[in-house]
């Protein structure tokens, strides 16, 4: 199983029936493919839809129905559409249960940087700042390191997305939860030791005596 699949399968277990969920583009989007049977969630697209689903067949593409990246998608029966003000009212107003977002860096306090690398990559924040500010739970889906360098740091070097801490960080090596005492190492991936995680983590971790192994959605 590849690293990104581990992350997506683990995050899928965080979704509960009845949740309204927004998935960021890239790796977070793949979480939708692993929602366990019997768990019924609705996916929000910030371009104005609740009830997004993958396009069942390329021939069914509708020029007026896309995901936020502009790719054509489908909608489940019972879906609804709305304008950008309502879409971000849902996000900022605390109506969105979970958002899953990618990350460039996360620090010891759970603060996320995921929208720019000064002088190199300035794509803009899009909806990321609103999502981190307003969603009830913010889950970061990211690789533990970038080109061998830790992405989980004592302090972010890149511009922050929000001053609000995220709820959970899931990498291909570990599950981490920001707490008042620091970043708690909640789980390690199958075949990964606590030492494997600390060796590639710059932030100080709170490590319980017993760290369970990640469960993964089938």
């Amino acid at each position: 199983m590849d690293a990104k699949e581990i992350i997506a399968r683990r995050i899928a277990l965080e979704l509960m029936s009845g949740d309204l969920v927004n998935l960021g583009i890239g790796l977070p989007t793949t979480v939708a493919g692993y929602v366990p049977q019997g768990v019924e969630v609705l996916f929000q697209a910030e371009n104005g839809l609740i009830g997004m689903q993958p396009l069942p067949d390329p021939g069914l593409a509708d020029q007026y129905l896309s995901d936020p990246g502009g790719s054509f998608v489908g909608a489940v029966p019972g879906a609804c559409s709305f304008d950008s003000c309502m879409s971000f009212g849902l996000i900022r107003g605390g109506h969105l249960d979970v958002t899953v977002l990618g990350g460039l860096e996360v620090d010891e306090h759970g603060l996320l940087a995921n929208w720019m690398v000064p002088g190199k990559m300035v794509p803009g924040m899009g909806g990321a700042m609103d999502l981190v500010t307003g969603a009830k739970r913010v889950i970061v889906a990211m690789m533990h390191t970038a080109k061998g360098r830790p992405k989980i740091l004592k302090k972010c070097t890149l511009p922050l997305t929000s001053t609000r801490s995220v709820s959970l960080i899931v990498t291909e090596l570990a599950v981490l939860e920001p707490t008042a005492d620091g970043l708690l190492l909640k789980e390690v991936a199958p075949g990964v030791s606590v030492q494997d995680v600390t060796a590639v983590t710059d932030a100080t971790l709170v490590i319980p005596a017993d760290v369970p192994v990640m469960r993964l959605a089938p």
Binding site: Y64, S66, S87
Partner: protein, 221 residues
């Protein structure tokens, strides 16, 4: 009042240097005919307020390709490498605004508000230059209204009173932008006789639409 106007005549009303709100999200719901005509007529030094610049060759990306835009107010440009290139080369000024804040700033202008207070961006680069206001112990940024000379709206259905409805995710910024510009120009995929659109289906009232681009029948379509 009949709001119909020919495509070329609609764009002739837009002077060089105008500020334009352009609906659409990654080009979905953008007024593609108006965009094409702006390129054909070669309008210059435009300020464009929109969610994004789509991608090269599509939607607002066509205005970027033709170098008609001097300043952009958008939430992201990550999908358009040409916009990024022009920004890095100093050919275009880009103001990046969080997407929800952008929608609310436009709404503030259109709804007659002096601004809105948002928690989004507090303590980040998005807070630079913005006034911080505390309400009930919580910090907010004062997001000021954004208005424009013209709003270019992509609707799904219209009548010649200018009543507009939208389809699925093509609605996005269109209805709020139609409230926030001095002159509102709409195009629609289909135009129906007045009275056909049920009042409950109208999202943008015709009263605020100044011009509706007429259909052109080409090759029987």
């Amino acid at each position: 009042m009949h709001k119909g106007i020919a495509l070329s005549a609609a764009v002739e009303k837009i002077p060089d240097g105008s500020s334009l709100m352009i609906g659409g999200f990654m080009g979905i719901g953008s007024p593609h005919r108006l965009i094409g005509e702006l390129v054909r007529q070669g309008r210059k030094n435009l300020t464009v307020i929109a969610n994004d610049t789509a991608r090269p060759g599509f939607g607002i990306g066509r205005l970027i390709d033709a170098k008609l835009v001097r300043r952009l107010v958008v939430s992201h440009i990550g999908t358009n490498p040409e916009t990024q290139r022009q920004m890095i080369a100093g050919e275009i000024t880009v103001d990046l605004v969080p997407q929800g804040t952008l929608a609310e700033r436009i709404r503030a202008a259109g709804y007659g508000l002096g601004g809105v207070l948002t928690p989004t961006g507090v303590g980040t680069m998005a807070a630079e230059g913005a006034q911080l206001i505390e309400v009930a112990g919580r910090q907010f940024l004062l997001a000021l209204p954004i208005a424009a000379d013209f709003a270019l709206i992509g609707a799904h259905r219209a009548d010649y009173l200018g009543n507009l409805s939208y389809a699925l995710t093509a609605r996005n910024f269109n209805p709020v932008m139609a409230m926030a510009a001095a002159t509102v120009v709409a195009e629609a995929a289909e135009i129906v006789p007045v009275g056909v659109m049920p009042p409950d289906d109208v999202i943008t009232p015709g009263s605020i639409v100044d011009h509706l681009v007429e259909r052109e029948i080409v090759n029987g379509r």
